[in-house]
Structures are given as structure tokens and as C-alpha cells.
């Protein structure tokens, strides 16, 4: 019988070696799956992991796209990680992302067709505020009515999706779109667009915001008293209370920051890569960001790397579909394997495996 024993300190070797081994195991297991589908496993894995970064044919386009895809994931995950470390579970970032996008887009459209350079900053503020307010609903309900923020924030995603459908088919619909759903195109109009800042890099304001968020979160968690309070509240809630940490304030702060960042991510997407409000504008970034946050071990630098890794498998996965005709579900299974191995090996950083009967070391 196998038994797990908690390590007194996380193993440094496994913290670094675990992810590397996980990628190797994923390649082996995924390779077997691709072979079973009748596809060349070596080529498939090269296309997924190598081609988006280094292939002559694709890399000059794919590499910047990694940032475009990873940007919103990182931005949202950074916000979520603060709360997650304090034991505050905002599962509804997808909803805050939608509301941020709607508010930001509505602000920009209200001044249409003005091209004033003041509009985009206003849209960003509206996006931040929209996400913040949407997150305040579960936050205030938890503080003042003791509801469960996991359920409330999750269910508000579906409310936000209904609002999005109503905006796209009703009050934000393009008046020149002959009745079709969807707003005017923000991304191709000066003043409301979130352009590529340096040509060929994929870098837009949202990607820049994600990098700033990574640095800010790192500083807050490691150098600021707030980071100490967050860690204390998560690891020892009773001690935090005795230590003078105001639990309610912490809930409002963490939910507010994660909501605002998710809202900003929504605004940057709607004015950039997505281009406009449409019925299916949200593509699950708010949920995928939860995976990114945990994959990055709730650590800002880890989240940055996790976001880029997930983006790589998304883009590489599309290339594998395109170049080899590998079906999309097989790509999703491959991504699932990667997450499984990463999280499974993460266990070994904190625990060691013991065979029953031996004395603990």
C-alpha cells in the first residue's frame, strides 16, 4: 500500500523538475493517442510545441499570437490568485469579463462616431468599473448576508450571458447592421480601438496590462502588508482574525480587484481581438483563467508561464488540426493530459510517497 507523507518543506527539485517531467509524460501519453488515431506522433508533438514558436512558415505570426491569447488569461488569473490565496473563491470571472466588456463598449459607443483620444481611457475605466461592480454583488452578499460567493459569482455568469445576448440583439446592436445581432466594430475605429502597439509583436494594451499586473501582484504579495494579510487569511484564518485582519474588507478587496481585472480583460478583448459585442463574445477565458491560476501555483510568475503554456497548446493544437487533420476533441484530450500530469506531479513537490510499513524518515 502506498501512502503520502507531507514534506516539511516543498522539494526544490520537484518544484522545478515536476513541470518538465509532466511535459515529457504528456508527450509520451499524447503521442500514443495520436499514434492510435493513425497520425505521426512525432510530427504532431513538434507541431503543437515547436512550430508556433520556431517554424519558418508559422512562427512569425504565431509567436505574437501567443501573447494575444495569453494576455487575458494572465490578467484574469492574477486577480483571481489574490482571492484564492486568501480563501475567497471568485468563480465568476467569466461574468465580470462580460460585464466589463459591455460597460466599456457602451461607453465607447455612447460617443460614436467621435475619435477623441480620451474615449479609450474612458472605456478602460468603464470596463474596470463594470467588472468591479459585478463582483461586488457576491462580495457584499458574502460579507453582509453570509451567502456563498462560489455559487453567487458562478450563477451571475449566466445572468451576464443573458445581458450580453440582450445587448447584442437589442440596445447595443449596430443600427447599420440590417437587424443582425452584434454591435458596431470598435476595433476598426480610431478612438475606440485597442490596436497592436508595436507592429508584429501582438502587444496590445491588454497584454501590457497583464504584464503590469504580474509585477504589481508580485510586489503586493511579497513586499506589502496586504500580501501578508492575504496569505495569513488563507493559511490560518483564526490567526488572521486575532492579528487584526478585517475579513470583510479582505473579501471586498480581493473580489473587487479580481472583478476589475476581469472586466478590464473583457474591455481589451472587445476593443481589440474580438472587435465588438456579439452574442458569443465570451469564449471561456474567465473559466480557463482559474486553471491558469492554479497551474501557476497562485504565484504571479508561475501564472505568467502557465498562461503562455496554455496559449501555446491552444495555438499549436489549431495548427495540428490544420496541418494533420487531428480532430479537435483529441487536441482537448491532449491539453487535459498536460493539466493532469502537471497537477499530479505538483503533489510530489509537497508530499513524498512512502510504502506502508516502513518507518517515516
Amino acid at each position: 500500500m502506498i501512502r503520502l507523507e507531507k514534506r516539511p518543506q516543498p522539494s526544490r527539485g520537484w518544484v522545478i523538475g515536476g513541470p518538465v517531467l509532466a511535459v515529457v509524460l504528456t508527450m509520451a501519453a499524447g503521442g500514443l493517442m495520436f499514434a492510435a488515431l493513425g497520425k505521426d506522433p512525432v510530427e504532431a508533438i513538434r507541431i503543437i510545441f515547436w512550430d508556433p514558436l520556431f517554424s519558418q512558415q508559422f512562427a512569425s505570426y504565431s509567436r505574437p499570437q501567443l501573447l494575444v491569447k495569453a494576455g487575458p488569461l494572465i490578467l484574469i488569473a492574477i486577480g483571481l490568485s489574490l482571492g484564492f490565496r486568501a480563501g475567497i473563491w471568485n468563480i465568476g470571472a467569466e461574468g465580470q469579463y462580460i460585464v466589463g466588456a459591455i460597460c466599456g463598449a457602451a461607453f465607447g459607443l455612447a460617443f460614436w462616431p467621435s475619435e477623441s483620444p480620451l474615449i479609450f481611457p474612458g472605456m478602460v475605466l468603464a470596463g474596470l468599473l463594470g467588472g468591479f461592480l459585478w463582483a461586488m454583488i457576491p462580495a457584499l452578499l458574502r460579507v453582509y448576508a453570509r451567502t456563498n460567493e462560489i455559487l453567487v459569482s458562478l450563477l451571475l455568469v449566466y445572468v451576464a450571458e443573458a445581458m450580453l445576448a440582450s445587448a447584442a440583439t437589442g440596445w447595443l446592436r449596430n443600427p447599420e447592421g440590417s437587424g443582425f445581432p452584434g454591435s458596431r466594430t470598435l476595433s476598426r475605429h480610431p478612438g475606440t480601438d485597442n490596436p497592436e502597439l508595436i507592429a508584429g509583436t501582438g502587444m496590445h494594451w491588454g497584454v501590457l496590462a497583464a504584464f503590469v499586473a504580474v509585477i504589481a501582484a508580485y510586489v503586493v504579495m511579497n513586499r506589502h502588508v496586504l500580501g501578508y494579510q492575504i496569505r495569513l487569511a488563507g493559511e490560518a484564518p483564526r490567526a488572521a482574525r486575532f492579528g487584526g485582519v478585517n475579513a470583510g474588507r479582505l473579501v471586498i478587496l480581493c473580489m473587487g480587484v479580481s472583478g476589475a481585472l476581469a472586466g478590464a480583460a473583457g474591455l481589451f478583448e472587445v476593443s481589440g481581438p474580438a472587435g465588438r459585442i456579439s452574442i458569443d463574445f465570451n469564449v471561456g477565458y474567465g473559466f480557463t483563467a482559474i486553471i491558469v491560476a492554479f497551474l501557476g501555483r497562485l504565484n504571479p510568475v508561475g501564472i505568467l508561464l502557465a498562461g503562455l503554456l496554455l496559449a501555446l497548446t491552444f495555438i499549436g493544437g489549431e495548427l495540428a488540426q490544420l496541418m494533420m487533420g487531428i480532430p479537435a476533441p483529441a487536441i482537448q484530450a491532449f491539453q487535459g493530459m498536460l493539466l493532469f500530469f502537471l497537477l499530479a506531479l505538483d503533489l510530489l513537490a509537497n508530499y513524498r510517497i512512502r510504502l506502508k510499513g516502513r518507518a517515516p524518515a
Partner: protein
């Protein structure tokens, strides 16, 4: 038929990209699907047509596809990667790909784009195409009006857009024509494909007394619910023959194959021109699947007569007199709806209760 050598390189340079190595023969055609090719509905029919077109041209044409592409930021990336991968022509088969299609088309003027169910043609290399599905709806509405005993027809609708509203109106008008007591109950699901939501919608309609279910969503889930409840339904987009003879008593089939063969052929010959295609039963883009024994013989005969009349161009499903829901006149006696009004239809016809959500 000699494949045209495409000047992909010039487009790539124009966009500031590295020179792709491939892109000689054969002519590469890409397809972008919003859902899974195994959905047995909308995406399945497009993929069937892709395979048929590929087989038709043999060695001269290569096809590639990417499925489950979200209608948003991912679409543009998939399109560009397809072009870098050597695509000479791309079919984007969902309404929500319109923005991305036009954005990429502007940067790659030598690649042909075909956008299904869209209306935006901002560049000369973008065409749009769709089916006159309301013709099919008229036929199944006719059958439904005859078959219902509770006089309540349930309709699972996706989004309140002209395409869907047009279908509801067409089905209702032709059900009422043979059964003046018929009522139409519409449930809006705000999704194209979500088996769980579609199941709930079908059950809600059955609970409200519907004994015939129609759907404008893509999954086969409503067929399963209808089967369990012992009522009838119609296949959507694809034949869904696995549910025949009951609950599925007939179906509207999307047949894209002739269009794909024609357009790819034109692109290879260099005779391709921008167009806005809207074809139906006469051209074979919309088909009615086998009408099963569950339908009485005389109803099958009258439905076939309607199909024949539409195919011959003798009958248009929106022929006046038709009033709007609020009682105002829309079409006078004998007047035929124009395509522009249909394409932007945002009102119910007289007799339908309930409101279009907005």
C-alpha cells in the same frame, strides 16, 4: 482543369510576414467550423459537403478544416494560420465569423473567402451564401399543422435574429393554412448548440401541451425528448434519420455540396466573382428528407405538391395576404415578399402570440 498558381507570397509580404514555402499545386481549400463535425447537424452538413467536394476534384484540390472555433478572437487567428498553411480559398461556415473573415480578406486579396449566412462583403474577394430555409420550414409547417392533435406546436428557437424569425413565421403560416386552430409556442434558448438547454426547452414545450416539436438549434437532443414523450419532431440541418420513423417524420436538409463544387471550380478557373447567394429548394441547397409512414399518405402527397410548386418557382412561402402581428398589413393579396424584407425580418406575422425578445 489546371489549378491557378496563386500569388500567396505577395500577400504575405504585404502583411509583413515571412514567405511561406508551400502554396503551389494543389488548390487548397480551408473550412472553419463553429462546432464539431460530429454534431449531426449544421457543422456535419458542411463537413459532408467538404468531403464530397474534395472527392469531386480528386488530386486537384486539398481540403483542410478546423472545428470548434469560437466566434470571436480565435476566428481571425485560425484564418491567418490557414492562409500561412497554404489555403487558397476559405469557407467560414457560421454567422459570427463575418468580422474575422472580412478583416483577413482585406489583408489577403488573393485568397477567396466564402462566408455562410453573413451579409458583410467589404472586400471584392468575399462572398456570402445561405439557404432559403424558410422554404423547408413551410413544408414541415404544413405537415405539423396536419399532424398536431393538441393544436399546439412547440418551436425551439436559438436567437431572435431575422433568419430564425423568418423560419417561425413560415412554419406558422403553413400550419395555420391547414389548421386554423393551431398555436405556436416559442422557446428562446440563446444558443445554437447546447443539448442540455435544448432538452429542457423541448420538455417545457411538451409540458405546455405541444405534440409537435420543431427546432432551430443544432443538436439531436430534442429528438430524444420527443421520442420519449411519444410525439413527433423534424430533423434539422441534417436528416437525423436515426430517429425515424418516429419521432422524426421529415427533415430539412442543408445541402452545400453543389455550391462548394461550383465555387471552388470557379476559383480554380479564375471565373470566381463576388456574390451574395441565397438558394433554396429549386436549386437543391435545401432538401426535404424522407417523409415517413408516420405521416398520412394524403398529407405526404400535399406536402410533396408544395415542394414541387416551390421547386418549380410557382409558389413562394411568403405570398400575401399576410398581416404583421399587430394587425397592420404587410403583404397584399398575391404580393410576394422581397428578399430585403425577409433578410431583415424582425416581426411576427398575425396570429402568433408572444413577443420577440429584445
Amino acid at each position: 482543369m489546371k489549378p491557378v498558381t496563386r500569388l500567396l507570397a505577395s500577400a504575405a509580404i504585404a502583411a509583413g510576414l515571412a514567405l511561406p514555402a508551400a502554396a503551389q499545386d494543389p488548390f487548397t481549400v480551408g473550412f472553419v467550423y463553429v462546432g464539431s463535425t460530429g454534431d449531426m447537424g449544421w457543422n456535419f452538413t458542411h463537413d459532408q459537403a467538404r468531403q464530397a467536394m474534395d472527392a469531386h476534384f480528386g488530386e486537384a484540390v486539398d481540403t483542410v478544416f478546423v472545428e470548434n472555433v469560437a466566434e470571436g478572437p480565435d476566428a481571425e487567428r485560425v484564418l491567418r494560420q490557414m492562409i500561412l498553411g497554404g489555403a487558397d480559398m476559405i469557407f467560414t461556415t457560421s454567422f459570427g465569423f463575418g468580422e474575422a473573415t472580412n478583416a483577413v480578406a482585406g489583408q489577403f486579396p488573393d485568397v477567396y473567402f466564402e462566408h455562410a449566412t453573413g451579409y458583410m462583403r467589404e472586400h471584392p474577394n468575399v462572398s456570402t451564401y445561405s439557404g432559403r430555409f424558410y422554404e423547408g420550414r413551410a413544408v414541415i409547417g404544413h405537415i405539423a399543422g396536419h399532424m398536431t392533435e393538441s393544436n399546439i406546436i412547440g418551436y425551439i428557437a436559438s436567437y431572435p435574429i431575422p433568419e430564425v424569425i423568418m423560419g417561425i413565421n413560415s412554419a406558422y403560416l403553413h400550419a395555420r393554412a391547414v389548421n386554423p386552430d393551431v398555436e405556436m409556442r416559442v422557446v428562446w434558448t440563446y444558443t445554437w448548440m447546447d443539448p442540455a438547454v435544448e432538452t429542457d426547452a423541448a420538455q417545457a414545450l411538451i409540458d405546455a401541451g405541444a405534440d409537435v416539436i420543431m427546432q432551430h438549434t443544432d443538436s439531436t437532443a430534442p429528438q430524444v425528448v420527443a421520442q420519449e414523450a411519444g410525439i413527433i419532431s423534424f430533423g434539422q440541418a441534417n436528416d437525423m434519420f436515426q430517429f425515424a420513423p418516429r419521432p422524426r417524420v421529415a427533415s430539412i436538409i442543408d445541402n452545400w455540396t453543389p455550391y462548394y463544387i461550383r465555387r471552388v471550380g470557379e476559383a480554380m478557373e479564375g471565373t470566381w466573382e463576388q456574390s451574395d447567394t441565397w438558394e433554396g429548394i429549386p436549386e437543391g441547397m435545401v432538401l426535404i428528407g424522407e417523409m415517413t409512414e408516420a405521416i398520412p399518405a394524403e398529407v405526404r402527397a400535399s406536402a410533396q405538391a408544395m415542394i414541387d410548386a416551390i421547386a418549380a418557382g410557382e409558389y413562394h412561402p411568403f405570398t400575401g395576404p399576410i398581416n404583421r402581428q399587430d394587425g397592420t398589413a404587410w403583404l397584399a393579396e398575391g404580393e410576394i415578399a422581397d428578399d430585403g424584407t425577409l433578410a431583415g425580418m424582425n416581426f411576427y406575422v398575425e396570429g402568433i402570440t408572444g413577443e420577440i425578445p429584445n
